[in-house]
């Protein structure tokens, strides 16, 4: 199977997830070996996704954890009845 560039682009996401059928993956791979444009598109997409997944992109607001845990502590103290709010449910699934 010989693929054109625009068809290879349709497979980029599946290729990155290693979710393509074997023969499609082989064809994409063969195309990539000979096409610098598609290789650059694939490399840039993969690179951008690695950057996107980095925890430095979106950070917690200053003081978020302190406020969260303080509120949880308050509610746990005042509302332990919340824990027994579903008496019909089993204590623990496992």
């Amino acid at each position: 199977m010989v693929l054109e560039c625009k068809h290879v682009w349709d497979y980029i996401s599946g290729y990155l997830d290693d979710a393509l059928p074997h023969e499609v993956r082989e064809s994409v791979q063969r195309h990539l070996e000979n096409c610098e444009i598609c290789s650059a598109i694939l490399d840039s997409t993969r690179n951008i996704l690695v950057l996107t997944a980095d925890n430095r992109v979106f950070e917690l607001p200053v003081g978020f954890s302190d406020r969260l845990h303080a509120r949880l502590a308050r509610e746990m103290e005042s509302g332990s009845e919340g824990m027994s709010g579903d008496p019909e449910l089993p204590r623990h699934p496992n």
Partner: protein, 210 residues
């Protein structure tokens, strides 16, 4: 290996949850610490302002605590937590009358074809580049500019590292929709970001990052 695995070696969450339900509620603080950012990030993707997102995140953690006995262990705790966060965000938006997108499997406009930015070469950008504000801001802006259905799939799958099935379950859409949206989201990000990242970094500046 997922990021949660790296952050939290040796954690036995099932055991922690059992201990919390048995009365050691203090442990809940420790249980949720690795997920604060993921929950906040997801809340922010719906709410669009930091203060509402923080409210939603706090509410989600509280609800998860109160409902902990209903956690069945069929999904990962993190996935369950994110589902609660999405529900809380949707509840808020409905309350504010601003929920424009429900979990429609095929909203209008989803049928178009998306093409990537054409490049002749690509030089790897190391993660250290994220120490620069302008790079972080480029990424934030590009992600925020995706329409919600694409942004959520991308965040769940590529940032929170849920698998396709988990993403489909959390968003209440089909596997096929997850795959289509994910593909488009990734290509749209590449299209938006590749030229900007490239021009931001002329070759002679690269070595500063490595």
């Amino acid at each position: 290996m997922t990021k949660a695995d790296i952050q939290t070696p040796m954690r036995d969450e099932a055991q922690m949850i059992a201990a919390i339900l048995a009365g050691n509620t203090e442990l809940y603080h420790e249980l949720i610490r690795p997920y604060e950012l993921a929950v906040y990030r997801m809340a922010l993707s719906y709410m669009k302002n930091e203060s509402d997102a923080e409210d939603v995140a706090q509410e989600a953690f509280l609800k998860a605590f109160r409902k902990l006995s209903a956690f069945r262990g069929e999904s990962k705790f993190s996935t369950w937590l994110i589902s609660i966060t999405l529900n809380e965000a949707r509840r808020r938006l409905r309350h504010q009358g601003t929920l424009r997108f429900e979990s429609l499997d095929e909203p209008p406009g989803e049928a178009g074809h998306v093409s990537p930015a054409i490049l002749r070469d690509w030089r790897e950008i190391p993660s250290e580049a994220l120490e620069r504000n302008e790079v972080r801001e480029l990424l934030q802006t590009a992600i925020n500019h995706l329409s919600p259905i694409y942004r959520q799939v991308l965040l769940l799958r590529d940032v929170d590292q849920l698998n396709i099935e988990e993403t489909a379950t959390v968003l209440e859409i089909s596997l096929a929709s997850v795959k289509v949206r994910l593909h488009r989201a990734r290509i749209m990000l590449q299209k938006e970001l590749a030229p900007k990242l490239k021009s931001l970094n002329p070759e002679r500046r690269w070595f500063q990052w490595s």
